[in-house]
Structure formats: structure tokens, C-alpha cells
């Protein structure tokens, strides 16, 4: 009976805290896949043009609660690192511009939102969970991946970005 209660408690935790993670996966540095898309205003963005900067690439969707929860921390991160060699590209994947519009109006991000309505970029970057983020170094190599959300302006995410900026 106790074991079954433990199982139920476990289930409750899983349902209460979906996709919240802080385990960054260190990767063998590899050339980043292509990432070229437009933002909601029609502006073109190509990861290749951001060489020389550290880039946080964040795959998200407005229907995903952990994605929505972590985005304000990305906003704070951008504000803290404003003017430094750092940029965030947030890839809105698997949904239309209309679907994410109200959320974007609400948070007004200071970083580009790239549209990926048919999930082409998500497939190219092998994204299997939302959110999933990547840290790309100044040489354009992917160094870390994170499946799940985090608070970007503190903890491991903040430290890793600081290290990469100092390289």
C-alpha cells in the first residue's frame, strides 16, 4: 500500500513539474546545423551571421507551459548581457504566427523570434522535447544542449554563458 502511495506521489510530481530541467549536456563541439528563418515582421535571421557572438538558441512553443515560464528569465538574461557579444534566437516551432501572437505581445521579447511553423528547424536540430536549448560558441560550434526549461539568468545556464563569453 505504501509503495502504491509512493507511485501516486511520483505521478503527482511528474504531472506538477513537466519538462523542468537543469541538466545541461556537454557536447563535443560541433558545427551548428543551419538555422535560417524569418521573424514575425519578416526580418531574415541566419545563425551563420552571428559568428563572433555566443548564441542561445531556444526551441519553444506558446502551448508549452515550461517554455512560457522560462522566457522571462531569457528576457532578464538579455537585459543583463545587453551590449556584450551575446544573442538569443528563440525558435517558435510547430505553430503559426497567429497562435503565438498574444503571448509575444504579452512578454515583448528583446530578442528575435524565428518562425518554424512546419518544424523544419526542429527536425534539423533534432529537437524531441519542448523547450530545448543550445549554446553556440563564438566559433559557431554547438557546445551545450538542454532538454527542458531553466532560469537563464542564474545557475548553470548563467555560468556556462559567462564561461563562453570569456573564451
Amino acid at each position: 500500500m505504501i509503495s502504491r502511495l509512493a507511485v501516486l506521489l511520483g505521478l503527482a510530481c511528474v504531472l506538477a513539474f513537466p519538462a523542468w530541467a537543469t541538466d545541461f549536456r556537454k557536447l563535443d563541439p560541433r558545427v551548428a546545423p543551419v538555422l535560417a528563418a524569418i521573424d514575425p515582421e519578416g526580418g531574415k535571421h541566419d545563425l551563420a551571421t552571428y559568428k563572433g557572438r555566443v548564441v542561445l538558441i531556444n526551441f519553444w512553443a506558446s502551448w508549452c507551459p515550461p517554455c512560457r515560464k522560462e522566457m522571462p528569465s531569457m528576457q532578464r538574461l538579455m537585459q543583463r548581457l545587453g551590449g556584450k557579444s551575446f544573442v538569443i534566437l528563440a525558435v517558435d516551432s510547430g505553430e503559426s504566427r497567429a497562435e503565438s501572437e498574444s503571448f509575444l505581445k504579452e512578454i515583448r521579447p528583446d530578442f528575435p523570434i524565428l518562425l518554424d511553423p512546419d518544424s523544419e528547424a526542429a527536425r534539423r536540430w533534432k529537437v524531441f522535447a519542448m523547450p530545448t536549448s543550445f549554446l553556440v560558441d563564438k566559433q559557431g560550434r554547438v557546445r551545450y544542449a538542454l532538454a527542458g526549461a531553466t532560469e537563464w539568468d542564474e545557475g548553470d545556464g548563467w555560468l556556462l554563458i559567462q564561461e563562453m563569453l570569456a573564451e
Binding site: 509503495s3 502504491r4 507511485v7 501516486l8 511520483g10 505521478l11 510530481c13 511528474v14 504531472l15 506538477a16 549536456r25 557536447l27 560541433r30 546545423p33 512553443a61 502551448w63 508549452c64 507551459p65 516551432s93 510547430g94 505553430e95 518544424s119 526542429a122 527536425r123 536540430w125 533534432k126 529537437v127 524531441f128 522535447a129 519542448m130 530545448t132 543550445f134 554547438v142 544542449a145 538542454l146 532538454a147
Partner: protein
């Protein structure tokens, strides 16, 4: 497109024939069956007079109220349902891979028993697809494997490994020839990007695979604490959704 139209037409015809709704025999019954591993498998039986028996297996997130409602609705339509929560029955880890530890022999015994006197179909939610497909994939003809078995898989998670920037690997499930799989994938899911790849992997194992995208809902929409009004509405219709998707030849 034409195929889907014909299927819809056939479903409409059967649905019209099926009205008015058939009465259930009695209310749900809590039962157990012994399985080869020595466990006794808990299940809830929703009796019905029709000749179809549906094995309904809840996801790794456990069983929700909407599932019981769905089972009742199906029973009203003449489909007997055996509802099973494997995570609870085997006291498994509620994580993503907990259900992978269910012995295939136990599931074969369950399918064999359930298919003894009625035509059998399976509904598996989330990772619950793994133990059921493994059981079917390892079921030998001489052990009574049916020539055809229909599965409705609601956002099945069949990854062996799915890590960012790495090629996806799907679990090897055995010989799925004769398995007719209908995948229902919520539009609002990361899995939507991989639906075609997953279907292709299942076809390689011999299954016949069709799929459908469920618009405006997320994975586990029937049990989410943060469900949208539309997801709540769809949860109430879960039984109707499954009813409409059971292969035409499976219908009572």
C-alpha cells in the same frame, strides 16, 4: 484523401446503424487476472453486449477520470472495455521508461485471454504503446497470435533514444505484421515533428500505419491540470474520438 473519405463514409454508416445506443450489461467491475510473472493484474471491466473487447492501457502518467468516462461511453456503444493502469499494477516508476519494464509475456497472456471470446482491439496512451506492441511483436502464431490486431495509439512514445542533435533511435518491437496501427498525435506536441519518421519505423516492422493530427490539444490533454477549455471539451469526447477511429472492421 479518397481513402479517408471512404473511411469517414463507412464510419458514418456504422454510427447510424449503431443508434440508438446499446445498453450496458452492468456497471464497471474491478477484477484481477493472474499473469505469467506471478503478478495479479488489476483491471476495470466495463461490460457490454457487443462482440468487441477493447484493452485500454493508460499512459505512464496514470489513469484519469476522462478515461473512465470514455470507457463508459464505449460500453454504451456496445464495446466492452478492460481498463488497465500498468504503472499502478506493477508499481512502476512513473517516469518515461517505467512501462518498458512490463513483461511482454504478461501482456501476451492478457491479450490472449481478452481475445478468447470476442474480437480484440487495443488503445494505448503514451508510452503504454511499448509493452503492448512488444507483446504483439513477440507473439508467435502457434501461441494464438491473431492475424490482425487493431491498435489506436494516442501520442505513442517509442523512442529508444532521443537526444538533441542526435539521430533518433526507435525501440525494436518485433514482428508487427498484422498490426493495424492508428496513431493520434496532438498538434501541440514536440512529437508532431517526428510523426512521419515514427510511422515509417513502425511500417518497417511490418505494421499498417495510419495517423491523424489532433488539433488544438497537447499530449495528455485529458488529464492536464492546466487544460484549456477546448482540451477539457475534448477530454469529455475521448470515448467518441476512439470510437470514430477504431478500424471499420472492428466496429460492433
Amino acid at each position: 484523401m479518397m481513402q479517408r473519405f471512404l473511411l469517414l463514409l463507412a464510419l458514418f454508416s456504422v454510427a447510424s446503424y449503431a443508434s440508438p445506443e446499446r445498453p450496458t450489461v452492468s456497471g464497471p467491475q474491478h477484477l484481477q487476472i493472474p499473469v505469467p510473472s506471478g503478478e495479479r493484474l488489476d483491471y476495470v471491466r466495463y461490460p457490454a453486449k457487443g462482440n468487441i473487447r477493447l484493452i485500454w492501457v493508460s499512459s505512464e502518467r496514470g489513469q484519469g477520470e476522462a478515461e473512465s468516462l470514455a470507457a463508459s461511453r464505449l460500453a454504451e456503444r456496445g464495446v466492452e472495455v478492460w481498463m488497465i493502469d500498468l504503472t499502478f499494477s506493477y508499481m512502476l516508476d512513473a517516469g518515461r521508461r517505467g512501462l518498458d519494464h512490463v513483461p511482454p509475456a504478461d501482456m501476451r497472456a492478457l491479450l490472449s485471454l481478452a481475445g478468447r471470446d470476442k474480437k480484440l482491439a487495443v488503445v494505448a496512451l503514451g508510452r503504454a504503446a511499448v509493452p503492448l506492441l512488444r507483446a504483439y511483436g513477440s507473439w508467435q502464431k502457434q501461441e494464438g497470435r491473431p492475424q490482425q490486431l487493431d491498435f489506436v495509439l494516442v501520442h505513442p512514445n517509442l523512442y529508444e533514444e532521443a537526444e538533441p542533435l542526435q539521430e533518433v533511435r526507435y525501440l525494436e518491437l518485433g514482428n508487427l505484421a498484422g498490426g493495424h496501427l492508428y496513431i493520434m498525435q496532438p498538434r501541440h506536441s514536440a512529437g508532431i515533428a517526428w510523426l512521419d519518421r515514427q510511422a515509417e519505423a513502425l511500417r518497417k516492422e511490418g505494421a499498417v500505419v495510419n495517423d491523424e493530427v489532433l488539433e488544438r490539444v497537447r499530449e495528455g490533454f485529458w488529464a492536464r491540470q492546466d487544460a484549456s477549455a477546448y482540451e477539457v471539451e475534448m477530454s469529455q469526447k475521448l470515448g467518441d474520438l476512439i470510437w470514430a477511429r477504431l478500424a471499420k472492421e472492428t466496429k460492433p
